[in-house]
């Protein structure tokens, strides 16, 4: 089985986010980056599928030069090789353009499975996998909790809203978007990190792939959200704050 896992590099979860001077994206100067968390679960699922079925796992990532760090992480955890779609431009691409790049890189590999996280922690469009499936002409399922290969088919458990689930049987090749938290993530071993250095990383550009980077849904302005509710922020040391809060809950909100 050939399994492609599409991962994205995003600003680390605890980053202090600052908007850039032009108000178009983040000030990236002192951000640190990590693998998008849902994609880490997609990678884990891909590695476990390979352990079950044999074959290879190819990590695919579209991003600037710094994304090599995320690619190395995927290789260190057990991916066999990688494709880096290197994007020189600053800022961000819309979801369709990103998916076009990924489809152009993934298609010639003729994979059986393409796995990715259900959404990214930065843009949160939650659609790259679905668009990718449509561009490749593959079947797909989103918000997948369990993957059960059945020969040329796969049975997946999808999460619906409000505590409901549903099993769906789909033909291969298939794109699955994986829910966070479904399995325990592995750590890269020392051996894995060492081996990663010798694994193949193919770097391609948008031009190589024949994809136009001019997107349609551009972000005109990025800004801090406007507060909708009047939040009273209490300050002081822990004891003072606790006292103030209890007073307010008792006498102001009258809920205690």
């Amino acid at each position: 089985m050939k399994i492609i896992v599409s991962v994205k590099q995003v600003a680390a979860r605890d980053s202090a986010l600052r908007v850039n001077g032009a108000g178009t994206w983040l000030d990236e100067s002192d951000l640190s980056y990590e693998m998008n968390e849902p994609d880490a679960y997609a990678l884990e699922e891909a590695l476990q599928l390979k352990e079950k079925l044999g074959g290879e796992v190819i990590a695919m990532c579209a991003g600037p030069a710094r994304a090599t760090q995320t690619i190395r992480e995927a290789l260190a955890k057990g991916a066999d090789r990688a494709i880096h779609i290197e994007i020189a431009e600053e800022g961000v691409l819309d979801a369709l353009t990103t998916a076009r790049l990924l489809a152009a890189a993934a298609g010639p590999e003729s994979p059986d499975f393409v796995l990715t996280g259900l959404q990214s922690d930065d843009l949160g469009y939650g659609q790259t996998g679905v668009v990718l499936a449509e561009l490749l002409g593959y079947s797909h399922a989103t918000i997948v909790m369990e993957v059960e290969p059945q020969g040329k088919m796969v049975r997946v458990k999808r999460e619906l809203e409000d505590g409901w689930f549903q099993n769906v049987v789909l033909p291969l090749p298939v794109v699955l978007t994986i829910q966070s938290g479904i399995k325990k993530l592995r750590y890269a071993t020392l051996m894995g990190i060492k081996k990663a250095k010798t694994k193949e990383v193919k770097t391609v550009s948008a031009r190589d792939l024949g994809v136009e980077l001019a997107g349609q849904a551009g972000m005109e302005r990025v800004y801090l959200p406007v507060r909708a509710k009047q939040t009273q922020i209490l300050s002081g040391d822990a004891k003072q704050v606790a006292h103030q809060l209890v007073e307010k809950l008792k006498f102001e909100a009258r809920v205690l």
């Binding site: 600003a11 986010l17 908007v19 983040l26 819309d94 979801a95 369709l96 998916a99 922690d121 930065d122 949160g124 469009y125 939650g126 679905v130 668009v131 449509e134 561009l135 079947s139 797909h140 399922a141 989103t142 918000i143 999460e159 619906l160 809203e161 409901w164 689930f165 549903q166 099993n167 769906v168 049987v169 789909l170 938290g181 997107g215 349609q216 849904a217 551009g218 972000m219 005109e220 990025v222 800004y223 801090l224 959200p225 406007v226 507060r227 509710k229 939040t231 009273q232 922020i233 209490l234 822990a238 004891k239 704050v241 606790a242 809060l245 209890v246 809950l249 909100a253 809920v255 205690l256």
Partner: protein
């Protein structure tokens, strides 16, 4: 020309956010100066189409087909593709449900368009429509300008207020969808629930809810003690339940329970939208978080920026003092 609102139903029951999408469609239609139409599709949808026609819409397009009885991405995409080809709307507006997330982007791609998902507000400017989205789980906002026609937009639950039916009795226009069984690749089985819930958080008066900020399972004792002092139910955001630190049935949010207590303490919870939809109906929300930019402070009545490991024990002590 019109704006088309896509209403969602499962097994003859509306997804209530459908009418929020309709409200958003009305806003967009007003800005563009065109009428609103609604689309309903499925199998045996006569009653639903009539209910939809009770809202102030120009018409209800009803596509009834046996192959649309159960949701499949292939079936729904094909049906809507045909409706859109025929109607040529300026914009198509969906509720941002799990189902729409599964087929909306596929549909938009078929038209070569970007699916602008999870929109929380719409601004009409001279240069055109600006769609407001949240980035980084709500820590930042962005104005997105979509180009071309039709625009594909899904709106976040709770972002637009659903209107009431006006008993207008709009026209229902049946739409014949051409669909063959071999076009549908997915074979869906019946939806199910994992297990009976033994904890009903929806009845709780006071809830102490904990998130990633607690860092380790061993630290849960800190919030458990506060819950005990308050006589509150303990709840959590998704990552805590995913880790197995608390049972899944104590999860609050879009994939867990929806709660509306008198007081909701959000402790070390950043406030991603998936969590907020499950608790924003609470009467009073108290947020304790070390990150002053955490989106939870947008929803909170009282906020404390600081170290939960100092504040929570102090709060438990203060509560005990009051109750003594």
């Amino acid at each position: 020309m019109s704006v088309l609102a896509v209403l969602e139903q499962r097994g003859g029951k509306w997804n209530r956010t459908s009418f929020e999408a309709l409200a958003a469609a009305e806003r967009i239609a007003q800005a563009l100066g065109v009428p609103v139409a609604a689309a309903v599709f499925g199998s045996a949808i006569e009653t639903l189409a009539q209910e939809a026609a009770g809202y102030a819409v120009e018409k209800v397009v009803a596509a009834d087909h046996a192959l649309l009885a159960d949701y499949t991405a292939d079936g729904y995409t094909a049906a809507l593709e045909q409706i859109i080809q025929s109607m040529r709307p300026e914009a198509v507006v969906f509720p941002h449900t799990y189902q729409v997330r599964d087929y909306g982007p596929k549909l938009a791609t078929r038209f070569g368009k970007v699916f602008v998902s999870d929109v929380v507000d719409v601004k009409a400017e001279n240069s055109g429509l600006l769609l407001v989205r949240q980035l980084f789980q709500g820590k930042l906002s962005a104005d997105v300008k979509a180009a071309g026609q039709p625009q594909f937009i899904s709106v976040q639950a709770g972002a637009f207020r659903a209107g009431q039916p006006s008993a207008a009795g709009s026209a229902i226009e049946p739409f014949v969808v051409t669909l063959e069984p071999e076009q549908i690749r997915g074979k869906p089985e019946a939806p199910f629930r994992e297990a009976q819930r033994s904890v009903d958080l929806s009845a709780a008066e006071v809830i102490v809810s904990v998130g990633r900020g607690i860092k380790e399972k061993e630290n849960l004792a800190v919030v458990e003690d506060l819950a005990k002092a308050l006589g509150a139910e303990l709840a959590a955001s998704r990552p805590i339940c995913d880790n197995g630190w608390l049972p899944m049935e104590r999860q609050v949010g879009s994939s867990g329970q929806t709660v509306a207590p008198k007081i909701y303490f959000a402790i070390g919870i950043s406030g991603a939208i998936q969590h907020l939809v499950g608790m924003k109906g609470s009467k009073t929300i108290v947020a304790i978080n070390k990150d002053e930019n955490a989106p939870i402070f947008e929803s909170a009545d009282y906020g404390v920026v600081g170290d939960l490991f100092e504040i929570v024990p102090a709060l438990a002590e203060e509560i005990r003092k009051t109750k003594a």
